[in-house]
Symmetry: D2
Subunit: 398 residues, 4 copies
């Protein structure tokens, strides 16, 4: 199969953000290029022009396409011949910059892959969704955990009814890195993530609870109804929540819980989800992503290992594998799967077809709106003594 | 060391409940006698007189001490010479019978070891506490998970400040055995546990969430303030909750969560607790009880294995071990540790000393009152749309 | 069911060895009495008369039956009325004493439960087997790991052909406690176990490799043909091996490996076995004994949890359980299962029946001969540059 | 840092083998390009010219550089200007082709990355080593498991004496995919791997035991002395071994074991190694590569997680990480680390410097000779009833 059919060429990528000191910029670059379906050709790698320039060689970006701002980049790229011009922009900046870059890139005719949470607030998210719709762009949101093969396997198992009706979803994302006031020690990651002017209304809930919530939504398809949320800030002087729990009522009567922590000693990226259906239950952990436990009363516990050739794997699960079983795949490969699904759509768009934007394998702009709504409503609920507040957004996937 | 110093003889045990078909009666018998500190000499093993008699040989109870009711038993035993008479009564009946048996046994001068939840409702519990206080009896409540060596290890670690201030406690107890309407299939255990007239106001929350809640209280000593609880009944026709989540505010500002399920396919007795302190975090699972994970930022994850000889074990942890490391101890041994701690007190009482009743290593009548209050308030909160309700009971341990 | 049918009374136990400082004596006492089928009534707890007396109260042994030598004990017990006299003798002494105690006890008409390795050398073992046969005694050898429910489950699975033909057995028993010259620090356990005059011809291979080898034999029933063994002594000055590997050729062409270590830092009692059959494979670890992994190509890995009520459990597995799944059972319960199986036979013998001595559920005198032969041949092979030496003993179970 | 300093450009890669149906070709391509330090520009993807051409678009190789043989490729590339010509050739063919391709590529002035085992037999390996030495080429051998960060961490820990003197190494590589006669079902991978004319003298021992052996050598640096090996073929009609065990005597007196299986039901790529030193022990498993267990008597078991920022990580370990802890890295990233280390050397060579060829971080031609010697001597020993045969090769790293 040729690359990016029916386009039959590599896609050209630009990166915004990701300058020296960034973690996630490198991730985007590796993930996007992993399958040789894209090349990183341009970048506006930092809001600091000098760092923007200095960071380019790390990525193999030529000097003349190492721009000092995204505005300059979009303008310059549009002037290039179609056969050289970028196809999509990956946004790896702090949250408060996502909207303007994405909005401008889409309006300039490019596709976008954007970090989550999608925007600074819900209003921006809703506006961005309109832009995406109006421009028929491909917009992928990097809820990267949805790219793990066994997550997709679970999604299809549940969609096909293998677990029966879903009654309960327990998700947690536990970290420890913000146990101390790292933001006061000039740690760049900590600084912006705990700064309400850059991160948005929530801390742990914006950064990681959104992943846990999205994972449950993506795997089960359950539609949310209401949420009651308790946010806490345990580290003195911190401006945003670093711990919290949300209880979620789904429309079908199921009960969900999402707990997020940034203050649990020694915990790394312990995203874990348990799903109870009337016919079976699943458990999956991001830190050990090549296996998922499937249980049914009366049977031995089944460890489903990521195995593209196993009879128990379904098509979504198998399609997301690059290696046979026992050779572990991990974070980059999952991230690359989100890109790969988006590339399929980009290639179609480039070939002149209209693309599905809502019911996609990759997480998209609709998921982004829902994520921002989740953050907004959790903060609202927490501010009202954990009152139940609505969690249905009309743009959310059904 | 002689047995049961300063008493220097085995204690004599009577069992109420535990007739054929019972699971927990056998557990009490094995646990109580494990260390050769007690002998089972009498019983009122069933409310059905024939079964009461027929069950006695299984336990090696002589025919003349196989009584057909607890009333008969207490009366007859009191007539025996002091040197033959029972020392304590273990109660292994359905919940609604606990109070009357315990109350009568204590008033007859005996000590009591009682299954949890302690009584049918809070009023009974408060009344029983008065009886215990008035009679200076030893009363142990079988929150048996508190007997695991590493649970006691954690308790002392936290009490001594090793984990710093506690911020968060996440406990869950996940089972699957009531996934279907087992109560309609003449399964004895299922029948009474889902019957409000025998089990009390709550199902899963009375049966297992109380264990999870108690475990957090026992390990951390955090004092509760308020609870918001959401109970669900997922199996059609069931009369009590089979799933639920409680969010707990502790007085010191910590946030707790307790989730219990009886409807999670394939899950057995998956009681798990995670505790986050400012200096370290702990994680322990009942199904793998010989290890506990201790984490501190910047250090390797530490697996503390149950090891009476290890320098990292504290006195409470080491004292609860019977075997060197690597030879696993499990459920019976933990249960036996609750008995062992109570036996220490019984031996003292028998020697004429007054015994501590509140601040004990074994879970006691005060814990029982608190457990019943927890159940009552969870049910109340759930009935009011998960409103916050008080969770401080004056009798609770501080 | 009454206790010890058709005998219908508890069995009376005597303990030889197990005085203060002993670990295994307490294990025998707890294991034998766990199910209330036996009472410990007599003992010769130490070769030191004072310690023998002083240790008795710990076990609740009356002063007049706390003997100062096994000879005295046997003589005195024989003088007691039949209804008081002991039924069996448990031997928990260092290895070099096993033979004389067992031989005398059997000849005196009692049954015996003996620690492994059975004797000091093979000649003693063969002689003891003759004594057992001649006296129709029940003789159980405490290869206690064979009492774990999932080990017995595996035995029946394999015997019934579920795994097909067995091709390979990999067993290892890894410890670390003898990493340093503990024997020079007056540690009693270390002292006798590393002393050839008390322990016999082998160190690690006598103490723990025998367990690993026996476990493979017990689970698979494969009959051995030849062995090639490499023993090492890594701790300077030690007189016996503290590490070694044996390669075993079974008669059916299967290949086995047994590795034992006492010098692996931090390792506890890590006895692990992997068995490969043409239809399936199994893996079990003693330190996590409530689960066994069962694998078949093309299927999810199956975790068989100890669950007496599960459809996947066979009769041997289920019969060895005392608790429902999720409530872990462990070392004592496994040890007690060896006793329980021996008690069945003792009760039959006491009722005047002749008892099966070779093809028993509990490990027996034939296994003991084979174990001594294994030790002897491993030492011989190692002494001849790991030459292949025979491993078939005519007394071994087939 | 610019890419491939001091070269400051991407390296140009050619792939030999890897045509449609290949697994390992894709792995080389992804691994080599993961860090954006190389581009795949040319290939001779199959010995079948049509398939060679047809496979090129999958890799994004332009039609004019999709050669139909490696000879054609080398010739054509040499005619290209230096600024376009390939820098290195990756060899992903069956074993019997390795030598001729590698030999020709090196003599043509290119660097080589070659699959293991390095050649068809030892003679070829020794000859290839001479070629590499004579041409001052960079030659990397894809013992890819040595690229895992925690493997390199262990290597440095041991080299620096943290574990003390090494006494024992237990390595095993357990698979199940050749449990049946897959080679008779037209499965390409199975066909050549079980064919002595393509795979060489050994089956499982050539394919996977070499990895396990190499891993022990790489991590510990122990120098081998002798080996005794037992090879088995359990699947009827198979021409090469599918199971075996080797016992290894190291020069320092340590004892090693290497076990390999291709016939263990359900096992995937279960490469596991345990290392015992006088000061500590390590255990690592490829299927769960982001953690390593470090044990020391008297301390809690330490789980070292891959964490570039942790104080416990050494420089080799940290340098091999791309992601912070908790975001797992896996097979591709480890493979890419072998490439990355080789790229460092290639960039130096391209800049005119002479490069170290023996004492390298990546596994190299010397390791390849040793691997072939290991295979040869294991087969020889097995043929002589597992006799001890020498295992010292003068070319092996010390």
């Amino acid at each position: 199969m040729a690359l990016n059919e029916p386009l039959n060429r590599k896609l050209r990528m630009a990166l915004v953000g990701g300058g020296q000191g960034s973690f996630i910029g490198r991730v985007h670059s590796i993930a996007a290029c992993l399958d040789n379906r894209a090349t990183l050709v341009a970048g506006a790698l930092s809001s600091n022009p000098e760092r923007a320039k200095a960071s380019a060689p790390d990525y193999g970006i030529a000097e003349d396409r190492a721009y000092t701002s995204y505005q300059e980049m979009l303008e310059a790229e549009l002037k290039l011949p179609e056969g050289e011009r970028i196809d999509f922009v990956s946004i790896a900046t702090p949250n408060h910059v996502h909207f303007e870059v994405a909005d401008a890139a889409i309006k300039a005719g490019f596709n976008v892959v954007c970090d989550k949470p999608m925007t600074f607030d819900l209003a921006q998210a809703e506006q961005l969704l309109e832009t995406v719709q109006a421009n028929d762009a491909v917009f992928a949101l990097s809820h990267n955990y949805t790219g793990y093969p066994l997550v997709r396997q679970a999604r299809e198992m549940i969609a096909s009814g293998e677990l029966g009706e879903i009654n309960a979803v327990r998700a947690q994302y536990i970290q420890g890195w913000l146990r101390t006031s790292l933001e006061e020690e000039d740690q760049k990651q900590a600084a912006w993530r705990t700064d309400p002017s850059k991160s948005g209304a929530a801390g742990a809930f914006g950064d990681i609870a959104t992943h846990a919530y999205n994972l449950g939504r993506y795997m089960t398809g359950l539609f949310p109804d209401q949420v009651s949320c308790s946010l806490k800030t345990f580290v003195e002087g911190r401006k945003l929540d670093d711990y919290g729990t949300a209880v979620i009522r789904y429309e079908n009567g199921a009960l969900g819980t999402v707990t997020a922590s940034q203050i649990s000693h020694g915990r790394e990226n312990d995203l874990e989800i348990e799903i109870d259906g009337t016919k079976g239950s699943l458990r999956w952990r991001q830190e050990n992503p090549n296996e998922m436990i499937y249980r049914q009363n009366g049977k031995a516990h089944q460890i489903l290992t990521r195995d593209p050739n196993a009879p128990f794997m379904n098509s979504m699960g198998a399609a997301a594998c690059r290696l046979p079983s026992g050779h572990p795949e991990a974070f980059f490969e999952a991230f690359a799967n989100v890109y790969a699904s988006a590339f399929d759509a980009m290639a179609e768009r480039a070939a002149g077809k209209s693309v599905e934007k809502k019911d996609t394998v990759y997480t998209n702009c609709y998921d982004g709106v829902e994520g921002m709504y989740f953050i907004q409503q959790c903060v609202a609920s927490s501010g009202e003594n954990a009152a139940w507040v609505p969690l249905k957004h009309e743009a959310a996937r059904r």
